[in-house]
Symmetry: C2
């Protein structure tokens, strides 16, 4: 393990601990739903989005404590989207990251309610953060941006277009729309929240958004590539699921080599923009490169 | 139609117009999800919760414009809960208010996503309201209270206990828990939001919460009564659905007469508390009485 991998592992554990601090207590007559929510939240993952909130805030020298509730909220929103995506009426996945999905363990009704509970709790957490923040205006703006990126003009919009085009031939514009909204939007939200909480100006927030867009799209194309080249062991989910589902992806439209080249392009653009911001961006830069070139 | 009924009709139309002003435009590749959300929002109903936001704010002489986005958000949260409740994995209802339910028209996947979209948009709307409010602190507190009442310690908690006890014998404590959380919590949220946005003190907010609890429980017992005594025409949904689903309710446990007496008790308590607040509470009082003694 090189230095960056060791550092990443430590920082991931740190981020995870913060997220866990916001997990609700499993008690009351409604205990089962809280268990289902925590099961979903604690099922692992890269913790990429809360890490991007924190690392972007750090890049601009913000107050770390301001980020904590937003990091938890970010992961709750990401997790709810996975829980609902896995439902029988959606992707119908029984496994994710090598573990049973939430509805597979708790039933379909609890899967729906656990997702709702996580989404609602994200906003409960952020609204409490506004009340407690040293900079309530920043916190309110951060929440508003995240709500926009998570909603019908962001992630939910992307999920919609993904679902209605399932098993259909798609053109590259539709695929780009899905990648931009379904995947990039939350990454944009995460980095913008970090920047806004640190109190940077609009110009810097825009640059951060552009970095995140490039990271998000590269990340999703890499996902399409990994679906073809990965193994069950590496990914913790069935491979070739895209092919089996007759899904058009970057790889089926452009081929592996061109897709890999595009990942390089987006990646380079993100890194260049990041360096243009100044500050100590070493960790963020390595994180972006690692994410985009990941093998699982 | 007596004077109050005429007044109620006019004020309902006024409330509905405000809610409609916040409906998203049906455009973009993701248009279908926006149509599904608006279909759900525009499917009628009493508009009780946004009306309670507005009327409670009026009682305390608040600035009406402060209430508008919260009224819309309130109805979005109520509507998302109906859309998800109607799903096949939940109550599996194909009709509500005499109209096809959202998933019946748009499919189960869009039903899930439309509910998610409505819940998220509620918070997007409220977070924007905080940014635009003359009293951002009040608006942030109002949103935090509503998030609490809509979440696992409120409505979602109540739905959970309702779902896991379906087709089971329930004791009166469990039924009270469900009524308090599944139904009363959002009514509490609505009235508390109105009071908070008007800038009243904590004591008054607590009294308002107590009024709303009594209204909510009476409303729900009346719902159980109507399930036995109503007709399809009056209710716009199949009658005796509780009995068919082998559901324990106030009526099956306590009988119709005792249930009716309890509705009277809760109703009287709500009205007495309301009058203790002073101010022109005539319309709110009539609204509460009307709601509780409704025949549909």
């Amino acid at each position: 393990m090189n230095n960056f991998d060791t550092e990443l592992k430590e920082r991931t554990a740190y981020v995870e601990k913060i997220v866990y601090d916001y997990c609700p207590k499993e008690e009351g007559l409604q205990k089962i739903i809280i268990e289902a929510m925590n099961y979903s939240l604690k099922a692992g993952g890269k913790r990429l989005r809360p890490m991007l909130v924190l690392e972007t805030l750090r890049l601009f020298g913000g107050d770390e404590k301001e980020a904590y509730p937003f990091m938890a909220a970010m992961e709750m929103i990401h997790t709810y989207s996975l829980v609902h995506d896995d439902l029988p009426a959606m992707d119908n996945d029984m496994y994710r990251r090598g573990k049973k999905t939430t509805h597979a363990v708790y039933g379909e009704d609890m899967g729906i309610l656990a997702g709702d509970g996580l989404l609602n709790m994200a906003y409960e957490t952020m609204s409490m953060a506004i009340l407690k923040s040293k900079y309530p205006q920043r916190a309110a703006l951060a929440m508003n941006i995240l709500a926009y990126k998570a909603g019908i003009y962001g992630m939910i919009g992307g999920q919609t277009v993904d679902v209605i085009n399932e098993n259909k031939e798609k053109d590259i514009d539709t695929i780009n729309f899905i990648h931009k909204l379904k995947t990039a939007a939350l990454i944009e939200g995460a980095m913008m929240v970090g920047a806004i909480l640190a109190g940077v100006d609009e110009q810097a927030v825009e640059t951060v958004e552009e970095i995140a867009t490039n990271v998000g799209i590269a990340f999703q194309i890499q996902d399409d590539i990994l679906d073809v080249t990965g193994t069950l062991e590496e990914l913790g989910k069935p491979v070739l699921s895209d092919e089996k589902n007759n899904k058009t992806t970057y790889v089926t439209l452009k081929g592996i080599d061109e897709s890999k080249r595009l990942v390089e392009d987006y990646s380079e653009k993100a890194v260049n923009l990041l360096e243009s911001l100044g500050g100590d961006s070493e960790f963020l830069k390595n994180l972006i490169i690692k994410l985009i070139n990941r093998v699982k």
